[in-house]
């Protein structure tokens, strides 16, 4: 080890710099946190509504992602033609798209004059933008692709001959999905769900663009951090530490899958 270090000091220096770039900000946050007052700081009038809204909206997002995304992942994992490839590419776009652009797209689709928003307004008199529903739609837009692609990978690794055997035993495709694919892909579903939930929890750009920043209605925890950093830095730090703790907890849930 020592000789390796000696002969490749430059490599180690660069690698150390990489670690520092990632670790120092988190360290900075922890060092600046006033641990004795964290609970008090969290009582700031802006914090609790934001946490509650984040918990409720991300829970709804997660449930919707599971309900819609799991069958989609299953069908994608069993598709062979060109349609499947295009669909997969389409679902990858939100992952690489700047979230704020996603927010603009959502606004144009679900807005008062949007392709979906206009008929909804005409029929029900509902405006979607700047409501909690918009928060969920924004989170789904960015988190669902993560979930679908993670679960699709897990389902793709389930031997197709299991499907075939189940079918010869008389199982309908729905029964194969429920009784064979779901249990066998369960670890991948848990991992995908955790990943998608974490992504939804951290969603900022699309939310602020499409849902706005209304305290108690659309101001999620990340938005509250950003806003309170001006007015109440201690609350921002306390909230940030809370979210860091949650992120680490999610990572712990995935331990052994990606962290080795």
């Amino acid at each position: 080890m020592r000789r390796l270090a000696g002969s490749s000091a430059l490599l180690f220096a660069l690698a150390g710099l990489g670690v520092a770039l990632v670790a120092l900000p988190m360290l900075g946050l922890l060092l600046r946190t006033d641990w004795g007052d964290v609970l008090d700081d969290l009582r700031s009038p802006i914090v609790w509504p934001a946490i509650r809204l984040s918990l409720i909206t991300t829970a709804i997002t997660l449930v919707l992602a599971l309900i819609v995304g799991t069958p989609l992942a299953w069908l994608l994992s069993r598709s062979q033609g060109r349609a499947g490839r295009w669909l997969r590419a389409l679902l990858t776009v939100p992952i690489v798209l700047p979230p704020v652009v996603g927010g603009v797209a959502l606004l144009l689709a679900y807005g008062r004059n949007g392709v979906v928003g206009a008929p909804i307004f005409e029929a029900f008199g509902l405006r979607l933008p700047f409501t909690p529903v918009a928060v969920v739609l924004a989170q789904l837009f960015v988190a669902l692709p993560f979930y679908v692609l993670a679960v699709e990978g897990a389902m793709r690794s389930v031997d197709r001959r299991f499907d075939a055997v189940a079918a010869t035993l008389g199982a309908s495709p729905t029964r194969v999905f429920l009784r064979v694919a779901l249990p066998l892909a369960a670890p991948g579903i848990v991992a995908g769900a955790a990943l998608a939930w974490a992504r939804a929890l951290g969603e900022f750009g699309a939310t602020i663009t499409f849902a706005g920043n209304l305290t108690g209605r659309t101001q999620t925890a990340p938005l509250a951090v950003y806003v309170s950093l001006q007015s109440d830095p201690q609350a921002a730090i306390a909230l940030s530490v809370t979210m860091l703790a949650v992120s680490v907890a999610v990572l712990g849930l995935l331990r052994g899958r990606w962290s080795g």
Binding site: A166, A167, T168, L169, G170, A171, R175, V180, L184
Partner: protein, 352 residues
């Protein structure tokens, strides 16, 4: 329940055109080299692969043709593959009960049926185990029980014994033979192993490059192969030829004298490896078939040795079975030259 299947599929350059017909309660074995279309045929019968032509009919009911395609879950098949493919998240009992449950049986009735199937194969005491806690042989029996628990009209066995070690294979083969004897449906068995085919099947179908090259009852196929692969599997020397007289066939290995045949034209000539005698020099005496050969390989099985030769003149393979004593006397080693002879009375000639 009878099976009448004519499977025609094209996948890229590979075309399969295989017909299989069997009577109720019988077993047909599909034999052939890897990639010859055996599994494709099974999958098409099960409905896992679409047909590009032909049909699948079972007891007069059409499962697939140009107009009808039943999905796999509406066909009455049971599939057992080389890899047992037991659902890893279910116990042996739950695996076997999966089919009856899928076909609408109640929970307790399905479990009772599953238990009976496991008991019939002598593994009732393993009902509560997960597949990972089963040996290969136990897992394969469970897979067989699972396939039979839905009362299939057609049981599809895709190399069911190939992943087992020789001792286990013999045990599971015996269990399979016992269970098939009481099975009312049709069994289609894909195998590489001639012993499986000869002990389990009522009819053999040899497939090569997607086509049937020979089919018939085992005794007939074994006695009169009509294809190089078939001859290899049943262990006979086989040459294609043309009759020249009532005792002479001109073949790919040269003129072969027989003790008499009554057909003319294209002909097959076969003789058993045990009928081949080896000599260090050309023997004199009675008219015999003799070839100067080079030894390619020698395998010893018990007291006999299987000697693979090639005829120097034609390059055709000749297989001889001699005693291990002869191997020592003749110093049979790869590259050695010997004379192989076969008496005319040992040669069978039949029309191609």
């Amino acid at each position: 329940m009878s099976l009448d299947a004519h499977v025609v599929t094209h996948r890229g350059d590979f075309a399969v055109d295989v017909a299989v017909q069997t009577d109720p309660g019988t077993t047909v074995a599909l034999l052939g080299p890897n990639g010859s279309g055996k599994t494709t045929t099974l999958d098409a019968i099960a409905g896992l692969l679409p047909l590009d032509g032909g049909h699948v009919r079972v007891s007069g009911v059409t499962w697939a043709d140009a107009h009808t395609v039943l999905p796999p879950q509406r066909r009455r098949t049971g599939l057992v593959a080389a890899n047992h493919l037991l659902f890893p998240h279910l116990t042996a009992l739950e695996n076997v009960a999966f089919g009856p449950r899928s076909r609408g049986l109640g929970r307790s009735a399905a479990r009772a049926r599953a238990r009976a199937e496991l008991d019939a194969l002598g593994i009732g005491d393993l009902a509560g185990r997960r597949p990972t806690a089963l040996s290969n042989g136990q897992a394969q029996r469970t897979a067989l029980a699972r396939a039979l628990a839905t009362d299939p009209a057609v049981l599809l066995l895709d190399e069911p014994l190939s992943a087992l070690d020789p001792t286990t294979r013999a045990e599971v083969r015996a269990g399979l033979a016992h269970r098939l004897a009481g099975f009312a449906g049709v069994t289609v068995l894909v195998t590489h192993d001639p012993l499986d085919a000869l002990t389990l099947a009522d009819r053999l179908v040899f497939v090569e490059a997607g086509r049937v090259v020979q089919s018939g009852p085992p005794a007939e196929v074994v006695a009169r192969p009509r294809d190089a692969y078939v001859a290899h599997v049943v262990g006979l020397n086989l040459y294609a030829g043309e009759t020249r007289s009532q005792t002479l066939v001109e073949t790919s290995v040269g003129p072969v004298v027989t003790s008499g045949h009554d057909h003319v034209g294209p002909s097959w000539v076969s003789f058993a490896p045990a009928a081949v005698s080896l000599y260090p020099a050309r023997p004199g005496g009675s008219p015999r078939n003799a070839w100067e050969c080079t030894v390619r390989a020698v395998e010893i099985v018990g007291q006999t040795a299987r000697v693979r030769l090639t005829d120097d003149a034609s390059g055709e393979p000749v297989v001889a079975e001699v005693t291990t004593a002869s191997v020592a006397e003749l110093r049979l080693q790869t590259g050695a030259t010997v004379w192989a002879t076969v008496k005319a009375t040992e040669v069978t000639a039949y029309p191609a």
